[in-house]
């Protein structure tokens, strides 16, 4: 036992390396990425006079463009970000993947800007899962998915090699949250209780006003 064990490559470091490597691979093969659907979508927007009364679902105005493999990984990522929790459903079970697909497939400037961020991020996730677990991210175990997401959410200051992965993850997290919290169960989960007609507007509950020391502020 007098020979020290060689230092183990810790999990965080391993994934950093993998992400960096796969990022390099992507940069070296831009055409490969384009073949996976990174080109700008050809669809048109909804125009300046869409029917606002009609219920709408992703894909009605412009085609969805994520591949099946990308959608499976996106669903798995969505559910790490918003898992089922008590009575609250998981993000993927309330259509958030369709929303993410709609978002990155839309022809508007904000969406065109997000599209490469999301598609390259999904490619990194797929490559990292392949290297580490020999399969798709969607087929990895819960613990493996969680570990990869933790890598993509580093403490500040983030290591520079993780910048793109971290930027992707933050954007993907925000899209997942928007997709989820705008659904009826998501609004309930968040605590939105409006959008109901009522005969009176009663203002804040008196106990809340008192708790924040604002009783004297009620002037009307």
């Amino acid at each position: 036992m007098n020979t020290p064990l060689p230092p183990r490559i810790d999990r965080r470091l391993a994934i950093k390396w993998m992400l960096a490597a796969s990022a390099g691979a992507m940069l070296a093969h831009p055409l490969k990425l384009r073949a996976q659907g990174a080109a700008a979508p050809a669809g048109k927007g909804y125009g300046t006079d869409p029917d606002l009364m009609k219920p709408y679902k992703p894909g009605d105005f412009w085609p969805l463009t994520l591949t099946d493999a990308q959608r499976r990984d996106a669903a798995a990522l969505c559910d790490v970000i918003i898992p089922a929790e008590g009575p609250n459903p998981s993000a993927s079970s309330v259509g958030v993947v369709d929303f993410v697909d709609e978002w990155v497939s839309a022809p508007y400037p904000d969406n065109l800007k997000d599209r490469p961020v999301i598609l390259e991020g999904l490619a990194w996730v797929a490559a990292a899962a392949q290297k580490r677990h020999g399969g798709a991210f969607a087929d990895a175990s819960d613990a493996q998915r969680l570990a990869l997401c933790e890598e993509m959410a580093p403490e500040a200051p983030e290591p520079s090699e993780l910048h793109a992965a971290s930027k992707f993850f933050r954007r993907f997290r925000n899209l997942t949250a928007a997709g989820y919290f705008t659904t009826p169960p998501g609004m309930k989960d968040l605590g939105y209780v409006g959008n109901r007609p009522s005969a009176t507007f009663d203002g804040p509950p008196p106990e809340l006003i008192a708790k924040l020391g604002l009783t004297d502020e009620v002037k009307w």
Partner: protein, 599 residues
């Protein structure tokens, strides 16, 4: 029949009104209620808020969760149709692409125009606001005073329904008894902001907004609005009963199917149609005002956008309410042998002195508001409180470095979730899982947004003219804009951000960034606040103005302007209420001149 086509218009009307927004809607209302036969021409399509307003649709049922896009800049459910800073088939140009020199021109091509979309902030100009030159030596005085307009503010408030309170603050006029509706209670964030605003000198008071917090009193108001006119009283009394009070749900920007808030299409046009005196022609792009040999207007020439064909409509009087800049365009395109520089432009002042509102934004997060228990905060579909300009005396004493004031619009609360982030992005790890949801619930409602809305002083470098080359789809020359903020506006914008940051700090909150002393970084581009006025200024003499104090063109006595074009200054107060008050006053003048045979 209210809606007509080019082949079913009458041979001749008493008045043609071009544009159906706040000014056009008010002019049409006042004229038809008093018996004038009116043709209203609108460049956009017909629009019925009763059947087209997405009242309870949630963002989850909208494309992109309702996010704004170039097609719908204020979000999918915003009421605007065929509108925005770009409009299909209708370009405009800028003389300079330099930063700070561009003007962005917002339009809405629909019946009711931009009144379907606005914030419903309905503030009166104060006495100072009509005589700014006398007060500080800058800009111009109006040829009229607050006292001239006050009776019309009263009438407009009673007709459209405005909530608010009388606070008696400087240059922030009270309304006479019976004009205002009670304001809705302040939300928790508004109360919190009010308490801590006081420590930095900010008076938080009830906002004035054009939303019915209770039904209009159809027994009392009609006689005050139309004394001696029983038919008008009957029509408006009946219409008031068809407007419901706010039911405290859904944002006003979507429009209002129950007609609880003011849009030209919910307030002005239904009773005007009920008089039987109004014809409405939609999809009519007015190209020019037609003139006869004596120099009087005979009507207008317009393009039917459905066919591209040109048509004429005739009337004894033409009222232009196409919006400040569109009215300028129309006048400049109305060239004739008699008026080679365009109509009303013999002194070259048409298009000059365009003003927008100075805007700067800010955001902060207030830890004291984290995790408060949810209650329904939709309220009146917009803000309930605001801060009027509060430093009149310091400013007059020259202590501020800029000459005109601003008011503060602010908001917080647990509104309907949309596409914006739910957890602050700045600093730390990107949370996810149960932790992220806890964060989202914790921060929900704890963000506060601030917008300064300030007065711009008219200047020689901000104007519009016809572009010498570019034409729209119908071959009509388009506008070219010139824009420049003066140091007054730039410094004012910096002052806004400093004030907001101090206020957030006073609330124990976190500012998302530090305010910069350089106002050019804070100020929104020209046109962004969508309060552009001027271009056909009223004045006391034909040498110095385009219209007289009745908004009547000096050069052509049967042409009037009923939009924001006649503004001589652009007080911090949102212009819509003043546009309506002036349009009512102008329409009264037209009626009396018609009766006396002067037109």
């Amino acid at each position: 029949m209210a809606f007509v086509t080019p082949s079913t218009t009458a041979d001749r009307y008493d008045v043609i009104v071009v544009g159906s927004g706040a000014g056009g809607g008010q002019a049409v209302y006042t004229l038809t209620m008093d018996g004038a036969r009116v043709l209203l021409i609108e460049a956009g399509r017909n629009y019925d808020p009763r059947s087209e307003t997405p009242m309870f649709q949630t963002n989850g049922a909208a494309p992109l969760r309702g996010a704004g896009t170039p097609d719908k800049p204020f979000g999918y459910y915003d009421a605007t149709i065929d509108g925005g800073w770009t409009v299909p088939n209708e370009p405009y140009t800028n003389a300079s692409t330099e930063e700070g020199r561009e003007f962005k021109w917002w339009r809405a091509r629909m019946l009711g125009g931009r009144t379907n979309h606005w914030a419903r902030h309905a503030l009166r100009n104060g006495p100072y606001d009509f005589k700014p030159y006398s007060r500080d030596g800058l800009g111009f005085d109006w040829p009229i005073s607050y006292a001239d307009v006050a009776p019309y503010y009263d009438k407009v408030e009673m007709l459209v329904g405005v909530y608010g309170m009388n606070d008696g603050l400087e240059n922030t006029p009270n309304s006479p008894e019976g004009c205002l509706l009670p304001p809705p209670k302040a939300r928790i964030g508004e109360l919190y902001a009010a308490k801590h605003g006081r420590t930095v000198g900010l008076p938080v008071i009830a906002l004035h907004r054009a939303v019915l917090t209770r039904p209009l009193d159809h027994r009392v108001l009609p006689a005050k609005l139309h004394p001696g006119n029983p038919k008008a009283q009957r029509v408006i009394a009946e219409d008031m009963q068809n407007r419901a009070a706010c039911f405290w749900a859904t944002a006003c920007g979507r429009g209002c199917a129950i007609r609880a808030n003011y849009q030209s299409t919910t307030v002005h046009l239904p009773p005007a149609i009920a008089t039987g005196n109004l014809d409405i022609l939609v999809n009519g792009m007015v190209r020019e005002v037609a003139i006869d040999d004596t120099g009087k207007a005979t009507g207008v020439i317009y393009v039917d956008k459905a066919t591209g064909q040109e048509h004429r409509a005739r009337a004894r009087v033409v009222v232009l309410a196409a919006s400040a800049c569109e009215t300028v365009r129309l006048l400049l395109n109305s060239k004739s042998n008699r008026f080679p520089q365009g109509l009303g432009n013999s002194n070259g002042l048409v298009g000059k002195y365009i003003m927008d509102t100075v805007g700067a934004n800010w955001g902060g997060q207030i830890p004291a508001l984290e995790n408060y228990p949810s209650y329904n905060e939709d309220g009146a579909g917009g803000a309930h409180s605001y801060v009027p300009w509060w430093l009149y005396q310091e400013q007059l004493a020259g202590k501020l470095g800029f000459a005109r004031g601003y008011h503060i619009e602010f908001g917080s609360g647990k509104g309907m979730p949309g596409s914006a982030p739910f957890v602050p992005d700045a600093g730390g790890r990107t949370s996810f899982g149960v932790r992220m949801k806890e964060d989202a619930r914790r921060y929900y409602g704890s963000h506060m947004g601030f917008s300064g809305r300030g007065e711009m002083i008219p200047n020689e470098d901000s104007f519009c003219e016809l572009d010498p080359a570019v034409k729209d789809t119908w071959g009509i020359p388009v506008l070219r804009f010139h824009w420049k903020w003066s140091p007054h506006e730039i410094r004012q914008a910096a002052h806004m951000q400093k004030t907001f940051a101090d206020w957030v700090s006073a609330m124990g909150g976190k500012n998302f960034k530090a305010p910069l002393p350089d106002g050019t970084k804070a100020i929104e581009p020209g046109g962004f606040i969508i309060h552009e006025v001027g271009g056909t200024m009223m004045g006391a003499t034909p040498q110095r103005s385009v219209t007289n104090s009745w908004a009547q063109a000096w050069d052509v006595k049967n042409v009037f302007v009923a939009d924001g074009g006649v503004f001589v200054s652009n007080a911090d107060k949102n212009p819509t209420l003043t546009i309506m008050a002036l349009a009512w006053r102008t329409a009264d003048r037209i009626l009396s001149e018609l009766r006396q045979g002067n037109l």
